[in-house]
């Protein structure tokens, strides 16, 4: 770092950054905040061979760091950050992701969350394949990793701000002397909302050279920001030597460059006519989801709303600053990380300030917008900005608020219980005020900040609500709030959300179009195969440091004519070439699946070790499977009646709505159980969702401590 610190240094560690060789530095950094230990750990060949990097390294380190009974706020819980061997290459779009893992305050099992920004790659170029933080500081601290200076410090941080947009500016003012110093620095931070809720997120910064300001991408899911503030961390700071095209020292740069320039050209030639990601990011999905009755509206009751055009992609295309290279890592020409510049905040502690809003992206638009029946762009910008700077996950906030709004309209809540907030669907001002209350940990905001699973218990115990109804409409599974897709008509996607390791997040599988629209998965075996292949394929991105979007949000023009268009075969080959080009390890597309299976199965065993991870834990709320209320059934009565007639041979004309709902529910819940059986079998698990010993042996992860966990359940 350029400037000398005046903060009290609690611990210091001198080192010489290892050279990166074929994507690896060969060591990970361990920091213990309880006793101020800082040390290097070697990356073994076994780690690279079996777990690759990224989420694989995170899980491996976490597995060895915690105990069977470790809770999210125990000192031995860890936050582990790793990018992966391909993370930090600049030639292939979407190759700068960081993967973060911890034991979650929401789910009480392992959460993994992927995020853009520069921290992960710069951490590697500062000499570390992963950062593993354990322990709990007595006072607020920052951890500074100074690669060029060869120095790591734990420093007291009384004067460092907490809210993320302030942290970003603080870093620049405090540690960078020149404009160029800013380029290769990055922070991880949370916010005051992370201190007072269980749904805290982490913000990973990047310095935007054209805007001359820091920007932030979020590791949103599962409350890792909450763990971060519980450990009393205000910021992690890294800087590295200047990034170059060969900083990752790949085995075969030409092979990577060929794949990368081909994809750059493909995006240049076709993005405008395909998804227009370069102009409007993921925001365009709102109208598409609405068109297919898949956009969550009124807490997932419905899939469409006439006001959707007010928050659709073209609205945001007009608001996002255009013509800037909005990649969250160098060389991502898909450039979906758009921002609204110069937004003047209307509420809260920063009211009147002009800020950059990073987004909004689809999940925020759907979760905080349509799902809460809020169709006012100002409110989405306000919520997006404040969620980020407070360190609150927009998905958990949006889905949680939608749940609260339905409870309010159902009479479970009233103004007395909410402290005066009129939380009807569509009340944007009340939703924004709720967010401020959550960040401060005050009043009703403190309750909502605990997440839907705990709200269900609280509303039943304190407000006399019907627990069964709350279970049906509360859109969480495993304790994690759903991301933003209506799954009622896609059994495969019900499994895509439910039969997951971390909870209902679509990064494992998004099968709705394949299943519901194109009918490509007609049998249980087809669905099970898809629920094997796609979660494994997508897991692999997180092992290597890749983003999922350049895989299928841009497509070769002849993709539809290939044998398996859903897999985007040409892009899969690109990944084979890039991975082989980086590591020098020649792989096939089948190897991609095998690599992921090891990590995926270890994560399932990890959940079992922590007391979850079995068949019953894969249950989902009925709102994700079918209509919970009469209003909901009758809004799509023609569809449901037809299914009763054609599938169950019933005569809906002579049935009451209640009877029809009961028949449909029995059928759909039974289908989901059959799906579980088929998927568990395909994955090599028992009927109770436990990986079999023979599966662990086949994958080469039959370590004694891993086998010991599953044997208790066989």
């Amino acid at each position: 770092m350029s400037k000398q610190t005046t903060r009290r240094v609690l611990a210091e560690y001198a080192y010489k950054p290892s050279d990166v060789e074929r994507g690896y530095t060969g060591q990970t950094l361990y920091v213990n905040l309880s006793d101020n230990t800082i040390e290097a750990k070697p990356v073994t060949d076994e780690m690279k061979k079996k777990f690759v990097g990224g989420r694989g390294f995170d899980l491996w380190l976490l597995w060895h760091g915690v105990k069977d009974n470790t809770k999210w706020n125990d000192p031995e819980n860890e936050i582990v950050i790793s990018s992966g061997p391909c993370g930090g290459i600049t030639q292939y779009p979407g190759a700068g992701k960081s993967l973060v893992a911890s034991i979650s305050p929401l789910t009480e099992v392992v959460i993994d969350s992927n995020v853009g920004g520069h921290f992960g790659p710069l951490l590697k170029f500062a000499g570390w394949d992963a950062l593993e933080i354990q322990g709990k500081a007595e006072k607020d601290i920052i951890v500074v990793i100074d690669g060029p200076g060869g120095r790591i410090t734990i420093e007291e941080a009384d004067n460092v701000p907490v809210d993320t947009h302030l942290v970003g500016h603080w870093l620049i003012n405090e540690m960078a002397e020149t404009e160029e110093d800013r380029y290769y620095m990055s922070t991880v931070s949370a916010g005051t909302g992370s201190e007072h809720t269980r749904m805290g997120c982490l913000n990973f910064s990047l310095y935007d050279r054209k805007r001359k300001a820091p920007r932030f991408k979020q590791a949103g899911r599962g409350g890792i920001g909450t763990v971060f503030r519980d450990k009393r961390i205000k910021a992690l700071v890294v800087n590295s030597a200047p990034v170059r095209g060969d900083s990752n020292h790949p085995a075969d740069p030409a092979r990577i460059a060929r794949a990368g320039t081909k994809l750059h050209k493909e995006i240049h030639d076709h993005d405008d006519e395909q998804c227009r990601m370069r102009r409007r990011g993921t925001s365009y999905l709102a109208q598409i989801m609405d068109d297919y009755d898949l956009l969550p509206v009124h807490n997932y009751k419905f899939g469409t709303h006439p006001d959707t055009p007010k928050i659709n992609g073209d609205v945001w295309e007009a608001r996002y600053t255009q013509g800037l290279p909005d990649g969250c890592w160098y060389g991502c020409t898909l450039a979906c990380a758009h921002a609204v510049d110069g937004y003047t905040l209307r509420t809260g502690p920063y009211k009147g300030e002009q800020v950059i809003v990073d987004g909004p992206e689809y999940e925020t638009i759907a979760g905080c917008g349509s799902n809460c029946c809020i169709f006012e762009p100002w409110a989405l910008l306000e919520i997006n900005f404040y969620c980020d700077t407070y360190g609150i996950d927009t998905i958990s906030f949006g889905t949680g608020t939608a749940f609260v709004m339905e409870c309010y309209e159902a009479g479970i809540l009233d103004q007395e219980k909410t402290g005066g907030l009129e939380l009807n669907f569509g009340n944007a001002s009340a939703a924004v005020e709720l967010l401020h209350l959550m960040a401060r940990g005050e009043g009703f905001g403190k309750i909502v900040g605990q997440g839907i699973r705990r709200m269900k218990t609280y509303f039943a115990e304190h407000f006399g609500a019907d627990p069964a109804f709350l279970q049906d409409i509360g859109m969480e599974a495993k304790g994690l709030e759903y991301s933003e897709y209506v799954t009622k008509e896609s059994l495969a996607q019900q499994g895509g959300y439910g039969l997951t390791n971390k909870g209902p997040q679509h990064d494992e599988a998004w099968l709705i179009f394949m299943d519901q629209v194109s009918n490509l998965l007609p049998t249980f075996e087809d669905k099970a195969e898809a629920l094997h292949y796609f979660p494994m394929f997508r897991t692999w991105f997180g092992l290597c440091g890749f983003c999922k979007l350049p895989w299928n949000d841009t497509q070769p023009p002849d993709n539809a004519e290939t044998d398996e268009p859903a897999k985007i075969p040409e892009h899969v080959q690109n990944y084979v070439d890039v991975f082989s080009g980086v590591t020098g390890q020649e792989i096939t597309k089948e190897d991609i699946i095998a690599m992921s299976e090891r990590v995926y199965n270890l994560q399932r065993v990890f959940n079992i070790r922590l007391g979850h991870g079995l068949r019953d834990h894969d249950n989902v709320p009925y709102r994700s499977q079918g209509p919970v209320t009469i209003e909901e059934y009758e809004s799509r009565a023609e569809r449901y009646d037809k299914q009763l007639q054609e599938i169950l041979n019933l005569a809906p004309a002579g049935m009451t709505t209640e009877a029809k709902m009961a028949a449909l529910r029995e059928y759909r819940e039974e289908q989901y159980e059959k799906l579980k059986d088929a998927v568990y079998e395909r994955r090599g698990w028992t009927e109770n969702a436990v990986p079999k010993v023979e599966t662990l042996k086949k994958l080469g992860i039959d370590y004694p401590d891993v086998v010991a966990v599953v044997e208790k359940h066989l």
């Binding site: 095209g245 990368g260 750059h264 013509g323 990649g327």
Partner: protein, 129 residues
């Protein structure tokens, strides 16, 4: 602004321009390191690929390494370039090049060496406003 101009009617396909360019900038005679490429269509029709200084690459560069100098020529600040090759894929002319030996791309900056050496006078430097 001075830009390179090419007349296919005069070009004999001798490829001296490619050699001159790579010798000038990379000290080696290697057509793959030339910022001008002469292409044939197999039917005897020749064409040339080189930068016309349109500047579309400037907007796609994430590090502001590409810029237009005072004379209007699009140039690369090597100190800032991270070698992402976005400009290679986004050049409408296909005139931003890279080579496995280099981590950074390269392009024609209208130096005129090839025009000086072109025996057929097919290449010239012209003023383009």
């Amino acid at each position: 602004m001075k830009v390179l101009s090419y007349d296919p009617e005069l070009c004999t396909g001798c490829y001296i321009c490619e050699e001159v360019c790579s010798e000038t900038w990379f000290k080696v005679a290697d057509a793959e390191k030339s910022s001008i490429r002469i292409r044939g269509d197999g039917q005897g029709i020749l064409s040339a690929v080189f930068c016309d200084q349109c500047g579309e690459c400037i907007a796609v560069c994430p590090t502001e390494a590409l810029y237009r100098d005072k004379k209007g020529i699009v140039r690369l600040r090597k100190k800032l370039c991270v070698g992402c090759l976005s400009c290679v894929g986004f050049c409408p002319q296909g005139a931003m090049f890279y080579h496995p030996d280099q981590t950074q791309p390269f392009k024609c900056i209208s130096c005129g060496k090839c025009a000086d050496e072109c025996p057929a006078e097919a290449l010239t430097i012209i003023d383009k406003n």
